[in-house]
């Protein structure tokens, strides 16, 4: 559950190539917008493990994971 999660993801739109691996690995955390750029949903029902898998799977290294506590 995202409420208990400490992670957040930031997608760099200049790097995202719409490969969609993040959507496959964490479908409740990522979707592609009209321009094909991956968008992170901080309120989705994802887990930290899914988020890590999604970030690792990105062929463009476009997803950065940050500790929510650091960013808030």
């Amino acid at each position: 559950m995202s409420e208990h999660s400490r992670m957040r993801a930031v997608v760099d739109p200049d790097l995202c190539a719409s490969a969609s691996q993040c959507v496959l690995k964490a479908p409740s955390a990522f979707h592609l917008d009209a321009k094909g750029v991956s968008v992170f949903d901080p309120h989705g029902q994802w887990t930290d493990a899914e988020l890590t898998k999604a970030a690792d799977a990105c062929p463009m290294a476009a997803i950065e994971l940050i500790d929510a506590e650091d960013s808030d």
Binding site: G36, D56, P59, M60, A61
Partner: protein
């Protein structure tokens, strides 16, 4: 088709003309200026050269298919299926020729091995190989850059990573070229299915015993990883593994060889750029992206329409072919400032050198790594790589941007 004359051809329909093959910047600019959604009667399809259209085309998996076993590209392959069954069967398991959902299955099982994080472990070995290969080229009057450096580095890297012996790399190169002729529709080569079938046979005979050996005795290599991969209950079949190892041997070196050599030409064309990366090694990362934009290994890739739709006032019909010209898109002045300038510091640089969408080049992180390490070391060691070949000539293929030969001299610092 006879060999084209040296003069620039006004014929926009000839995608293999002297101009189209050797001067793509002028050729695709003329195409884009004439009509960014151009109907090519000879190729019998649409040629897209604007960034926005090409990028959207790569992402439009619902309407644009990559499948080579259905639709307008299928006849060529399936018509040969009976005679060349093994070749066709294995090609039919290559992820880049498939749509979802089969594509998703194949890519999921191998994607992890090619992520930036996974390939990072190869960096020290790549660095070592770059040094080993460059050392004997010092003080030489003429170096065959393609044969002595650009070909060897990627083929050794991919062979070692997969766990395929690299000793037979010249054989691997010949087989790869023969398969390339089948895949990239080199229509003029009448024997391409015959030689392609022999190449596939050779590769399958080489790889199948390795796959079987790794099943019982896994090693620290990619074939072992594929044999034992289990992603949420999904596994590869033996033939799927063999087919995709063949694909990675083939795709993993030819394109990277062209990336490395096209970059050397670009640096030579723009004085001062080589010195720029030598002075600021961090710039190597953006420089590699700029090579991919300015003169990447792939000129364009074909798709076909699953349904009819309208594009810039043109009626695309079901089963129409579309050529998504990355080289054209990467020089589109609507998207890139001063597109004809090779600028190693250019950033952001959302080029289409690796495509976009679900078929985005699987090997992109590895290709980047190899090119970064090669340019970083070479620019540190040498004050320049001087191109000696006076008339650069490129191979006549629709998809790739590959030099026929590239003689250079490494200038000592």
């Amino acid at each position: 088709m006879p060999e084209s004359s040296q003069t620039l051809s006004p014929d926009l329909d000839d995608l293999l003309s002297f101009e189209a093959v050797n001067e793509p910047r002028t050729f695709y600019k003329r195409l884009r200026d004439t009509d960014p959604v151009y109907w090519n009667a000879r190729w019998n399809g649409w040629i897209l050269t604007e960034y926005e259209d090409v990028a959207a085309g790569f992402r439009d998996h619902d309407r644009l298919s990559s499948d080579r076993f259905e639709g307008p590209f299928a006849k060529d392959l399936t018509g040969s299926a009976e005679r060349y069954q093994q070749l066709i069967d294995f090609m039919n398991k290559w992820m880049f020729t498939k749509d979802r959902p089969y594509h998703t299955h194949l890519r999921s099982l191998i994607n992890t091995a090619f992520t930036p994080k996974s390939v990072e472990v190869l960096r020290p070995r790549i660095r070592e190989l770059v040094r080993e290969l460059a050392e004997p080229l010092r003080d030489r009057e003429t170096v065959n850059f393609l044969g002595e450096f650009a070909f060897t580095l990627p083929v050794v890297v991919i062979a070692e990573y997969l766990g395929v012996p690299a000793e037979g790399r010249h054989q691997l190169r010949q087989w790869s070229e023969d398969l390339g002729a089948v895949i990239f529709f080199e229509g003029q080569n009448p024997n391409r299915f015959e030689t392609g079938a022999q190449a596939m046979q050779g590769l399958v005979d080489l790889i199948r015993p390795i796959v079987r050996a790794r099943a019982t005795e896994p090693r620290d290599d990619l074939i072992s990883g594929m044999v034992h991969a289990d992603i949420d209950g999904e596994r590869f079949t033996e033939d799927e593994i063999i087919a995709n190892v063949v694909l990675m041997v083939f795709a993993g070196h030819e394109t990277t060889m062209n990336l490395l050599s096209n970059g050397v030409v670009a640096f030579d064309m723009f004085p001062g750029t080589w010195q720029q990366i030598a002075e600021d090694p961090r710039m190597v990362r953006t420089a590699v992206e700029e090579v991919l934009r300015f003169d990447g290994p792939i000129r364009g890739l074909a798709r076909w329409a699953r349904e009819g739709f309208e594009l810039r006032g043109k009626q695309i019909r079901k089963f129409d072919r579309l050529l998504l010209v990355q080289h054209g898109a990467n020089h589109d002045p609507k998207f890139f400032e001063r597109p004809e300038q090779f600028d190693p510091a250019r950033w952001p640089n959302k080029h289409l050198g690796f495509g976009q969408g679900i078929h985005t080049c699987l090997g992109a992180p590895l290709a980047r790594l190899e090119a970064q390490e090669a340019y970083a070391y070479l620019s540190e060691e040498f004050s320049g790589i001087e191109v000696l070949t006076s008339d650069l000539r490129y191979n006549k293929t629709l998809s790739s941007r590959s030099l026929q030969s590239l003689d250079v001299r490494f200038r000592q610092r």
